[in-house]
Amino acid sequence: MGEAAHRYDETLPLEYRTQESRLNILGFWIFLGAEVALFATLFATYLVLFQRTGSGPTAGELFEVQDVLIETLLLLTSSFTCGLAIFEMRRGRISGLIAWLLVTLLLGAGFITFEIREFIHYVHEGATMQTSAFLSSFFVLVGTHGAHVSVGIGWMILIIIQLLQRGFTPKTARKVFIVSLYWHFLDVVWIFIFTLVYLLGMVI
């Protein structure tokens, strides 16, 4: 802390101007590093277990292409709109920022709705997380991602409220920036889930 905490640099984007913000953003990048390790472990678990289906269905028998494609389109689009939100923030337009954040979280909510629908569908077919090691690892990997997206939606709502209350400050700008990092990260994880879980499952 000390003077360093109040070193204010006008030449940087708003979210980087205070020392505190710079520390928070670096800390969040490192947290995302830990998240990479976490998801890597879940992917490893899934890849070890996904052919160990016991008496339950295999991946090829279970997965529904249509729902997964809709989920993928929704989430990838939401990452794009999240990028547009940051673009509006850099241009200093708070209404544009809030509008794109709202679009982003609605797309995220759509993603979650379809994912829950997909899960309910599987459960109705008798494929629960207790059925086999494959399904345990599938539900925990995809469910952990879904839980992250849900947390992201709640978090974004809190930040939108703060933007409405306080407007642009170095602090709110930093919060928007960090939640956008989180959101893009979840998008990247989904690309791996789509490839390694769904595509691989339907091929093998």
Binding site: M1, G27, I30, T41, T45, R52, S137
Partner: protein
């Protein structure tokens, strides 16, 4: 679950523990009320975000856990002293070796190291606090309530009994019916989250908050080891998080990750556990190397030999620590090719470690050595740790490991590295930095008594175990028959354990004695130190440095003393200092974690959800908080500086 199963019953030892717990709690409440200290406790400690106070609380917990784990150890030694003893039954013995291992690694070694790094690292790099003080308080309280949850298992519900490695299928529902292993999964999860946040916090602190002039290659060696340890924490602990979560799912929600039917794979647990577990032992040993480096350099009164080689070897060890995990289960079905590869990587760790050993020896060479207690621990570390290391290389040879695996040879090996490495380092660091924490020196005479009792006791206890292992005694056996010929060495080992226990008691007495009669440290620099923590008062004022020091070389404070006669602060240079505000939220949020965890352990999901809702509430309140801390005005700084330095 019936109420009669809720409390553990049927053992005189447990009833005695129940009584002791109730009496202790009543005693604490009485003392706090009688001396009107509740408000002090809340304002000064429970809500603090000061890294030094958080460090002190970590160390207090670590010493308490050393006592708990030590009692477990003594109970085990009592049971094994003679053949066919009836002191503990098999189930009770299983529980005790499980809690001994888990507590000593996760709730003793980790918090001791994290406590020392909390106190020392910001001071060594010339910072006023860590990067995220609020998060630091949350880390501590998560650790605290995780440890509490783990410890109550022995009177409520029953302790885990599948070993600290909790291998499946033994730790699964098929073979462990009670709640014991639920406690293991949930309590370690809660404190593990705290540790992960500590790793992130200190990595950012060290990367971003060093004093001007302190380049990476001018950092004190302890700070270097913490930097690398943080990287290990950040990449290893998420694996534990996942492993424990999967264990919780298996045990509480009936999934099939590690089960024996429906495709589950118990070896997956062993792999995940050790992918975290092996870096974990380096998480506790690398900071220990850092402590020894500081102590050896200070008391040999020489600059550390081979600074760059030290840094390189820390990085090398950290890298290798991620690619050796299979050596923990050479005998569990991996083929010769896999075993050979992991055998080679494991033996390779001896190279950077050897480099470090020689660097310490060359630092001592031609030094003007002062044999303080801290230095004695460091000097004893070298030969004892080498014994542990060499036997480790023996174990690393996969073919030979089929003889040593899970025998007392292994027990002796890892106690030689963990006690002679980590515990000796904790004691060295405690004696070395004690004046910085409390403003007085630990009595040297009593300190040396502790050292000799503990160090000799340690060798008497564990050296015979190498031979017991070669004679065929396997770990985790709760009794043995007389004809095996193991009795004499077991008696010797128990004598050693008792000596270590006496050494610990002398240490506790020393803490009390020194608080009352110990020599006060008025200078802030009792050991003629070399790094920046000695430029502050003892104990430091809560903002640490009135002005930010400027670093010109390795051993920054040594250079200041030689060039300028010390660290001088001109009153006209003072500026208002910005400090973070205290907060009670980390405390009550961690209570919510405890409640949620307790609910999960007993599958009382309503309680778990209530706890979880309070956690979410805490996060929301934090998000809306608009508290930017406060500024200490210059006059206030002047007053505090004069008060802190009145003896100097």
């Amino acid at each position: 679950m019936k109420w009669s199963e809720f409390f553990v019953t049927g053992e005189p030892l447990i009833y005695a523990a129940d009584v002791a717990i109730v009496l202790t709690m009543v005693g604490i409440v009485f003392v706090l009320t009688y001396f009107k200290k509740w408000k002090w406790l809340w304002n000064e400690w429970l809500t603090t975000v000061d890294h030094k106070k958080i460090g002190v609380m970590y160390i207090i917990c670590a010493v308490l856990m050393l006592f708990r784990g030590g009692v477990d150890a003594l109970l085990m030694r009592a049971q094994l002293t003679a053949p066919n003893m009836k002191f503990l039954d098999a189930q009770h013995y299983n529980e005790i070796f499980t809690t001994h291992g888990t507590i000593m690694i996760l709730f003793m070694a980790m918090p001791f190291i994290i406590g020392l790094m909390n106190i020392v690292v910001p001071l060594q790099i010339g910072a006023r606090d860590v990067a995220f003080p609020y998060l630091n308080a949350l880390s501590f309280w998560l650790f605290f309530f995780g440890a509490l949850l783990f410890n109550i298992s022995f009177v409520i519900g029953g302790s885990p009994d599948a070993g600290w490695t909790a291998y499946f299928p033994l730790a699964g529902n098929e073979f462990s019916h009670g709640v014991g292993n639920n406690y293991y999964a949930v309590a370690l999860q809660i404190s593990g989250i705290g540790t992960l946040m500590t790793g992130i916090n200190f990595l950012v602190t060290i990367l971003k908050m060093r004093a001007p002039g302190m380049t990476l290659m001018r950092m004190p060696m302890f700070t270097w080891t913490i930097l690398i340890t943080c990287v290990l924490i950040i990449f290893a602990f998420p694996v534990l998080t996942v492993a424990l979560a999967l264990m919780t799912f298996d045990r509480v929600f009936g999934t099939q990750f590690f089960t024996m039917a429906n495709g589950g794979m118990s070896m997956l647990w062993a792999n995940l556990f050790w992918i975290w577990g092996h870096p974990e032992v380096y998480i506790v040993i690398l900071p220990s190397f850092g402590i020894f480096s500081e102590v050896v350099s200070t008391f040999a009164q020489k600059r550390l030999f081979g600074y760059k080689a030290m840094v390189g070897s820390i990085v090398g060890i950290a890298f290798l620590s991620f690619i050796v995990w299979v050596h923990h289960f050479f005998t569990m079905g991996a083929g010769p090719a896999v075993n050979s590869a992991f055998s080679i990587t494991t033996m390779a760790i001896a190279i950077p470690t050897g480099v470090k050993i020689f660097n310490w020896l060359f630092t001592i060479r031609k030094g003007k050595i002062r044999f303080t207690t801290a230095m004695l621990w460091s000097l004893a570390f070298i030969p004892n740790f080498v014994i542990g290391g060499v036997t480790g290389v023996m174990l690393a040879m996969a073919a030979a490991d089929y003889q040593y695996h899970n025998s007392y040879f292994l027990i002796a090996h890892f106690h030689y590295v963990l006690i002679a490495g980590t515990v000796f380092a904790c004691f060295a660091g405690l004696h070395y930095w004690y004046p910085k924490m409390f403003g007085h020196i630990l009595n040297e005479r009593l300190g040396k008594w502790t050292f000799w009792l503990f160090m000799i006791g340690f060798n008497v206890c564990f050296f015979p175990m190498y031979f017991l292992g070669l004679m065929g005694m396997t770990r985790r056996m709760y009794t043995y028959s007389a004809g095996l010929g193991w009795t004499p060495l077991n008696v010797v080992a128990t004598v050693g354990a008792v000596l270590m226990g006496i050494g610990f008691i002398v240490l506790c007495y020393n803490i009390y004695y020194s608080a009352r009669y110990g020599e006060r440290d008025m200078t802030g620099d009792p050991w003629n130190g070399r790094t920046l923590e000695w430029a502050t008062a003892s104990p430091p004022v809560h903002y640490n440095f009135p002005v930010t020091p400027v670093v010109e070389d390795v051993d920054a404070y040594w250079v200041m003393k030689k060039k300028y006669g010390g660290f001088h602060v001109k009153e006209e240079d003072l500026k208002p200092i910005h400090m973070p505000s205290n907060s009670g939220r980390p405390f009550w949020m961690s209570v919510a974690f405890f409640v949620a965890g307790f609910g999960l352990v007993f599958k009382w999901f309503a309680l778990a959800i209530v706890g979880a809702l309070f956690i979410v509430l805490g996060l929301i309140l934090r998000s809306f908080e608009d508290d930017d801390g406060y500024h200490i005005p210059v006059d206030e700084i002047k007053r505090m500086e004069r008060a802190a330095r009145k003896g100097a």
